[in-house]
Structure formats: C-alpha cells, structure tokens
Amino acid sequence: MEEARIGIYVCWCGSNIAKMVDVEAVAEEMGKLPNVVVAKNYKYMCSDPGQDLIVSDIKEHKLNRVVVAACSPRMHEMTFRKALENAGINPYLFEMANIREHVSWVHTDRDKATKKSKSLITAAINRVLYHDPLDKRSVDIDPATLVLGGGIAGLAAALEIAGSGKQVYLIERSGALGGYAAEIDLLAPYMNSAAQVLDPLIEQVQNHKNIEIFLESKVTDISGYVGNFDAKIEKKGKEVEKKIGNIVVATGLKNFDPAVIDRYGYGKLPNVVTAMEFEKMLKIGKVETKTGKLPKNVAIIHCVGSRNPDYHEYCSRICCMNALKFANQARSILPEANIFDLYTDMRAFAKGCEELYTQTSRKDVLFLKFEKGDLPTVKKAAAGDDCDMVIDMHEALSGEDIEVPADMVILMTGTEAHDDAKDVAHLVGVSMCGNDFFIEKHPKLDPVATTTDGVYIVGNCVSPKDIPDSVSQAKAAAARILASISQGSVEVEVTTAEVNEDICCGCQTCIKVCPYTAIGYDEEKNVSIVNEALCKGCGTCGSACPTGAIRSKHFTDVQILSQIEGLMSLEV
C-alpha cells in the first residue's frame, strides 16, 4: 500500500462551528499527526471555494486521503465525495467528522467541544488510513419480465410493461386469463360490468406482440439475481427456459371454504351458498332456491372465515363491499323479498363505498350486527314455517336474541393464500408472514418490492385487496421494472459484504442472518458466497461471521477498531 497522505479540513460553518470549537487550534494540532500532509480550516467547506480548496490540495500535495470535519455526513458526505472524484481520487478514500450536529450545536463548553472535535477528527484520520478505494458497480438488466399469475393484477402489470415495448412472459396455471375478476358480474361500488372492462384487457394481452402467454403452465425453477434470472417454465409437460430481468408475482388468492364452519350449514343446507355461487346465479339471472322458487327472505352473512382467530384473524377487506353489491343486486332481482345483511363492522372505506352503503340501506336492506366471535347459526326451519331456514343470532345493536327467516343464505367467504404459496415463495425467494401472504420489503414505503431485488409482489398474494388497489400495485411494480430496464442496468450497493474464501470454513452461520438472501453456499468450495447484487451492506453478516471471513466493505473491523483507538487516543 502506498504511503498515506492525508488532508484535513476543518469547517467553520460560519460561526456555527467556530463559535463553539476553536477550529484553528484543532486544525493546527491535527496537522501534527502522522501521515497528515495538509491541515486547513475554512469558513464554508461545502461551498464551491471550499471544495476547490480540497481539489487543488489533492493535486498539489498528492493527497490520497481526505478528512473533512464539518456537519453531519448525512448532509454533505456526497458533496465531498464528489469533490474527491473531481480531483481524480476514489471517493471512498474520504471520511467526515461531524463536529456541528454532534459537537458545536449540542455542547456549551468551548474547551470540551474543542477537545471532543479533536478526538473525533483523530478517529476519522485513524479510520481513513484503512479506507479502500471502492468502485460503483452495476449489473445489466435483461429487459424481459416474468409475470406469475394471469389475474387482474398480472394482466395490469403485463400490459403496463409490454405497453412500453418490453417483453413479458405471462404464466397462468389455469386455462384462462382473468382470474377471479372474470367470474364476477358487477363491481362494487359503481356496479360497472366486470366483463365489459376485463374482456378488452384480456384481448389486448392476448393480441399483444410483446406478451407471451403460458396457460396451464407453471414455473418450476428460478435462479439468478436481479436483472439476470433464469426461469424454467413447464407448459403441459414441456419445459421452456427463459431469461428475464425481473419477476412480478401476482398469484392472487383463493376463497375460503365455508364447509369447515359447521354453524353455517354449508354443504348440508341446500340453500346456503357462497359468494361465488351467488355471483353465478346473478350472472345467469336466476336467483332461485334449489327447488326453483324465488326466495322470499335472503340473508347475507359477512366475515365468513375472516376476523376470527379460529379461521383467519385478518379482515378480507373486499367482502363487505361485495355483500352490499349482492344486497343491491338481490333487491333489484327480487323486488319483494326481505333482505337481511348480517355484518360485524361495515367496512365501506374506499372511494364511493360509504355512498353505496347508504344507497343500499335505502333499499330496505335490514342490517343486523353480530359481534366478532359471537357468530350467527343457520338452521333448518321447523316444518310449517313459512321460510326454509332460520338464523339465530344475537343482534348487537338491539341487544336482542333474534331469529332471521331465510330462504337463501349467502356466505361472504373471506380470502386466503393459495395452498402452494410456500412453493411460490421458495421459488422466487420471498418471505411469508403467518397468514401465508408474502412479505413486502417495507409495508409502508415499499409495498410491492421484496427483499429480493428484482422480485415484486402485487395484488392479493400480498394481502387481500380490491381491484383498484391490486391494479395500483401492479402498476407500481411495473414502474419499478420499467425504470430499471429503461436504464439497462441497475446500480448495486458499493459497500457490500465480501467473503474471504481463504478463511471461510463453510459453517453457514451467515446465510440465514442475511435479510436479503444475498448469501449463498458454494458446496464445492465449501464457502459462503455473497451475491453483491442483492447485498445492501448492513454488515450484520460480518458481525455474525465467527471466523472473520466476511468483510463489510467500508465498515471493516480494522476501520472501526482503529477509529475507536483514535477516539480514545486523546483521553488520559
């Protein structure tokens, strides 16, 4: 290693630092430390002249390392790194000492503040000695995208990406596109026709020159990393291999099977139907009991399988609105019938939904509340009763135990993850939460990305949601993918971890430590391998490695240890 030649620059920040820290004395003293070639102080280091000062010193004094003592690196680390780059040296041969936010602005004793500044700068000098030049790296992105699932979210993502002229492979396990939306007649809250909007979408997808559709297919294997995945697709026994850059997982949901809830009598009482079954009746215009009569009393029961720890604790989000839609439709098709809606909380939260709730109640739909955990029971009516079934319930808003007559009971079945969600998760390398839904990278600010770069999760496989929210997510994923493929490459983290293969003993402690599945295991060499395209540089693996084989670049053991030495060197 060439001899270190360090330049130190202490900023006044006007009076912000200078008022509390004797910057001149600090600079002078620091100048005496070994390897320090230049030590200067200046009013505004971040200003253009301040940066120019660094650049010219680097050139003049052949500096190969720079320390700036000024404000928080969160403010200006990038600024100074750029200055180093301009001067022709690697931007990572730089360290900042924060003597504003952490010293001058928070302390009141000038001597102490000055002393603290010195030790912070000494630490920075000690650290920068061990800095390595690091290079920005990027990986090329294959412009093709794999979309798993041909439901509404998958279609939306595929169209958005293909619409820009990029290749999409759309995989659907069933024989048709459209998913659950294709089975629905009308959509709450505006009661528009699902088919009228979905059919053209499907047609567009089918006729799109950039979309290759694989029906009755599944992906059997995915390997690689962001920008460079290889997918094996099995289509009717034949295997195809595709190279892709990104993956959108839109595998959707399945409906809860109400047969497991004994009290609702599904499967035993002929006129207890699921939401999907009722949907079919509406579609063909025949809302009739099994004996072909028009029902006089229709009861809709919410939260079937949802909001109940025995089945699923979560709320399925879409059933309330679907129930209101059914109530409306039932009223329309059966003008004379009594319609009862047995709910827990009416979750009419989306645009236009509260209005639908109001509108529905205006149509003489009687809403009856049962409390969470105090479910109604459906039973056959006594012989001679003028209805087919009666529902026993405790009505929470009146406090009464009541029975509700019913000739048809519609169970608003909740949604749940597919049985094979685990396989999909394993295939694409995403994690799952307790409910078998996939986990997003960040539930708030990154709801479609996953911890695996290049793999996006959208729609109902993440959590139950309605069509607009699914579509938004699909397009959000598309945006991410479009941005990266239009760049052609994606920049990867510079300060990643790296494995010293001469030391690594293959204990595999690090592998599960990584939240990004960036570490793999090379069986042949018996060492761990860091996929730097996936690594985010948190350094946790470096700390977990028992042999010291993993190095967290820019936060290496020796850098931090010598920083500590520097910090303490002025203490008695």
Binding site: G14, M191, S193, V197, M346, L445, S472, K475, R480
Partner: protein
C-alpha cells in the same frame, strides 16, 4: 346486425330536473334515431320493478340483446338479467352503457354519453372504441405536490434517468407524512422511513426540486405540456443558505407553525422543520415585519453569508415543458370547528388528530410528552414545555366523515390512526384511561385487524357509539355517548379529547382541476378514468393522479399509486408515444370505430 338479433335500450335514469346534468331526452332521441336500437324504453314507459313485465316486453319485441343506459346502470342489471332469462334469452347479452363510468357526468359530456350509447348498441366497449391518437412525448415529467405520493413517483421516474420537476407549494417536501409520529400498523416512525427518501430527492441528479412554488398555468397537449410555475419569493438564496439558523434566532416575526399543525409558533424566517428538504430557510411574507412595515432586517444582519437574504425578492414565473404531469396534491384535514358540539376551538384540550400527532411526536413542541394545553398570558392556547399529563383521553372517530351534514364519504384512515394514537397514549401514559368512540371499526388492511385486537388488549376502552357532544365541565371535558353494545349511556369526564378529523380535498383542488382539465367527483376528489382498472389515469392524456387527491387512502396505498402514476409516465416515455385526450375524440369517430370493431368481431366468429 341482423344475425345478432334485435337490441333494445333502456334508460334507467332520468337526469332531467338536475341542473347541469346530461339531457336524458336528448340521449333518448339519439338512441331512437340510432338504427341499432330496435326499441327505446325508460321507467315512464316500462317500470323497472316488475321483471315479469319486462320479460313480456322483451318477448313482444323479439329482443335478443338489451342495453341498459344510465348513470349507474349496473344497479338495475339484475332485474334485466332475470327478465332476459325469463324471456328465454342469455342474460350475458346485457350491455351496460354507464355514463359515469366513462366520465360523462354533466351536460358538457353529452357527446361522450352518446358515444357510450353508440358503442353499447354495437356491442363493443367504449374504452376499445374511444382510443385517442398517439403523439410524441417529451421525456420530462412535472409532478405537482411532494408528499409521499409525489416523492415516490419522482424517485421512480428519476431512477430511470429521466428529468423530473417536483413542484411543492410549501417550503419543504414530505407532506403530511412528515408530520406523523408513527405509522400504523407497524408503528415504525414516520421520520425514520421518510427522511431518507426526502434526502434522496434532495440529492437526486435527475430531480429538480422546486419548493415554495406553485403551478400557475398549463397549456399544450398531452406529450408536450407547457407548465407555468410561480416561484414564490423565498427571500433566502437557496444555493448559499447554509441552514445555520442564525437569522431565525433574532427574528421578531411570529406565526403559527404549519408543520406543527398550528400548535406552536415559528419565526417569520424559518425552516419548516429540522429535517426539511431543502434544509434552507425561507421568509413568510405574512409574518415578516420588513415585508409588512418596510423595516426590520434583523435576519440580514445576523446572516453570516453575504447576500444570502434578499428581503426585496419578488415572485417570478418560469416555464418548463413536460410530456407527463402527475398530480399528487394530497388533502387537507376537515375543519373541526364546523362541528360546534365537539367544542373544538372552545376548549383548550379538544384537539384534532393532526395536532395530536405533533404533540405525541418526539420532535414536536412538547418533545413527545403528552401534556394538557393551557392558556398563556395573552390568552392563546399553548403547550407548556413541562406540564401535566392527561389522566384520561377520549378519541372520537368520524369527525366530518360519514356524515350527511359534512362529508358523506368515509375517510378511510381515521379508524386506524385513532387506534395508533390510542396506542401511543397508552405507551407514554400507561395509567391513562383511553377511550375510543367509533361507528364501524374499519381495520381492513394488512395487519390492521391484528393491530385492532392488539390495541384492545392494551386496555384501550373501545366503544361503539358516536359521541354526540363534548362540553366543558370545571376544566374537564364531559362527553356523552351511547355504548350500543353494552347498552348504556356513557357520560365520561376526560382531560383531553382528540377528534379524528377526516380528509377532504384541498381548497384549491377545483382550481387545479380546471387548470389541468381534469374532472372532480361531487366531493371534490379528482376523478380517475376507470375506478377499477385505471385508478391513476384521467380522461386527459398525459395527466395522472396519485394519492389522496384521488380519494382518501393510507400510506401504502398512496405509495403504490405514486409508483403506478410513474409507471404510466414511464411507459409513454420508453415507448416515445403518448395517448391524447379521450375527451377530444369526436363522436363521429367513436361511432365509426365502434362499427369497425363490431364488424371485426363478426368476422372473427
């Protein structure tokens, strides 16, 4: 058409009588004159309540297909389905011609409504027929509003290497999210997750952040907009200000802090909050003594940088060109003063939820301590630096929402943020009694129901029953509610009441809508092109909407929309072409295209 059989059309709504509505009579006349319609009905000619009668009519006219036209024709579709089935037809042959669905909501949209009818009669969807022409697209994007939706959209597009003008009305980006303490249901701190994104915006080479700026005019056409931007006089030079704060120390001007939702004061020269981006000062003309009286200039004297503060700076207007515009202007909270009986503005400790967010925020005026608000010497409500903690707090849901007297819609986030606030109170004041009064608990999202259960188990008293009134009572607040589940009347005395105020469109939403030529819903939210499949597009080409300006939503949904809007822009930019305005397509063109499509369809069969 012969082989397809006869088509009947039914107008289920009659708009006549409503001002500014589409003229139903004109539409019916259009249908009657359309050769594709065998018969035209309306409720006055054929009542909608009797499926049997309709079936008989269908048989009588030998109809094989029905078009139902109206504002929301889906509402009556099932009755036709039954009638069609009864008449021996396939209920699948019912076509909805929904005017609202295609944005035909007022008399001005009559032509579009006719187009919808023409397409329906031809058996094709309007969306397929009404395809605007494509034009070249400018690669730059203008984003209006730099809340989390705007930030997200900007980063998505800028990361693809394209230029973004991010225009923010206030002095900093971050929007409402920056004001929050924690976010539900994960309870992560808003600043921790938002500030890195804000910093990224500030440092992104492809983003031109224009804070303290407003869009003052838009011209041009999709793909090539000219956007006039008013740069409000900041009076502090953005490039030389070092953010030291010396100027503010001695500034005599005071105004309520916008960032603290008005519960603290700031100087006339100020930085909206310590982590603002850009982290530079600005002068608020309304509270600056120099601007008002022409003398002061204390800030200039204290500024260590030469010529950084220019008190005489004037507003200026610049113009940028862009191919796409993303509107992410967000919302404002409901003015709780409107509900007099909750006593907001009359009692010191009736707070809005937004105010309380600032109280409970570690970076807020009380540094996160929950204290009771008191009166200062001048008679203003202030939060003391050290004060008494409330022993009991009540949260009231649905303030201004779900109420015919104010806003009919549900604001979507209040239930959850109220639960969150209840949790934060319990966390900071474990012995405090916390009650929540709600109508329906809308815990619908991922992890929300679980969160609700958790808050219940933390000892928060959650009561189903809307609070009717809050009255002052010897320094305490007495509120009255019916606990509908426990069947009792609750007259609770508490120290503090937090009103879960709803979200409403910004005051200037109409102005922006007009400027951009996009439409609004009755409530004032921006209207999307398709409520289901195109939630961010508008009927105006090149203009997308994202976030709460389109309707209330929580952070993840807003972020998703921000990205989705970016996707629309990116798609056109990558392709190099963008679709024009749907509203500009002449009726004849739609009719012709519908005919063409239906012929194609026939040919396929």
């Amino acid at each position: 058409m012969e082989q397809k059989g006869l088509t009947g059309i039914y107008f289920c709504d009659d708009f006549n009588g409503k001002s500014d509505a589409i003229d139903t009579a004109e539409l019916m006349a259009y249908a009657e004159n359309n050769p594709d319609a065998a018969v035209t009905w309306s409720p006055s000619r054929l009542p909608i309540t009797d499926p049997e009668a309709i079936a008989a009519k269908i048989k009588e006219f030998k109809l094989e297909r029905m078009v139902i036209a109206g504002d929301m024709p889906g509402m009556v579709k099932p009755v036709f389905a039954r009638a069609m089935a009864a008449a021996g037809n396939d209920p699948g042959d019912i076509i909805l011609a929904g005017f609202r669905e295609y944005g035909a909501v007022s008399g001005a949209d009559t032509d579009r409504a006719k187009g919808v009818i023409a397409c329906a009669l031809k058996g094709v969807t309007f969306g397929m027929a009404a395809v605007p022409e494509e034009t070249d697209v400018n690669q730059d994007t203008v984003i209006i509003g730099a809340g989390i939706a705007g930030i997200q959209a900007a980063l998505e597009i800028a990361d693809s290497g394209r230029k973004v003008y991010l225009i923010e009305k206030t002095g900093t980006i971050g929007g409402h999210m920056a004001m929050f303490d924690k976010t539900f249901p994960t309870l992560d701190c808003a600043a921790c997750i938002l500030t890195p994104k804000m910093v990224e915006i500030g440092q992104h080479p492809n983003i031109e952040l224009m804070s303290y700026c407003e869009v003052s005019g838009v011209s041009g056409k999709p793909g090539n907009f000219k956007v006039k931007i008013l740069k409000k006089a900041r009076r502090v030079n953005l490039s030389t200000c070092i953010g030291c704060g010396n100027c503010a120390e001695k500034c005599p001007g005071r105004a309520p802090s916008e960032f603290d939702a008005g519960i603290s004061t700031r100087r006339a020269i100020y930085i909206p909050f310590p982590q603002a981006v850009p982290n530079k000062y600005l002068i608020d003309a309304d509270s600056c003594l120099y601007v008002k009286n022409g003398k002061c200039g204390v800030c200039v004297k204290n500024c260590p940088v030469e010529n950084c503060i220019n008190l005489d700076e004037k507003d200026e207007t610049v113009e940028v060109t862009a191919g796409n515009i993303i509107v992410a202007t967000g919302f404002q909270v409901f003015d709780a003063k409107k509900v007099e009986r909750f006593g907001y503005g009359q009692h010191a400790n009736v707070l809005t939820s937004l105010e309380f967010e600032r109280v409970v925020n570690a970076a807020g005026p009380t540094a996160g301590e929950i204290y009771l608000r008191t009166l200062d010497k001048k008679g203003n409500y202030v939060f003391p630096k050290v004060g008494t903690a409330p022993e009991s707090v009540a949260l009231i849901h649905c303030v201004g929402s779900r109420d015919e007297n104010y806003h009919k819609y549900c604001s979507r986030v209040c239930c959850m943020y109220s639960l969150k606030l209840a949790h934060l109170i319990k966390e900071k004041l474990p012995s405090a009694k916390v009650s929540e009064y709600y109508i329906d608990m809308r815990a619908f999202g991922k992890g929300y129901e679980e969160f609700y259960e958790r808050i219940k188990s933390e000892g928060v008293n959650i009561i189903q029953g809307r609070t009717a009134k809050v009255e002052g009572n010897n320094g305490k607040l007495l509120l009255r509610s019916e606990d509908m589940i426990e069947d009792k009347l609750i007259e609770e005395e508490v120290d503090m009441v937090i009103l879960a105020v709803g979200l409403e469109p910004r005051q200037d939403a109409a102005e922006i809508a007009k400027m951009l030529g996009i439409s609004q819903t009755e409530e004032g939210w921006f209207r999307e092109a398709d409520s289901k499949f195109d939630p961010v597009n508008t009927f105006s080409g090149g203009i997308t909407i994202a976030g709460v300006c389109q309707g209330p939503k929580d952070i993840p949904d807003t972020v998703a929309q921000g990205s989705a809007a970016a996707a629309r822009a990116l798609q056109s930019q990558i392709k190099g072409k963008i679709r024009g305005n749907i509203k500009d397509i002449p009726l004849q063109k739609i009719e012709a295209r519908a005919k063409e499509l239906s012929t194609l369809e026939e040919a396929k069969k």
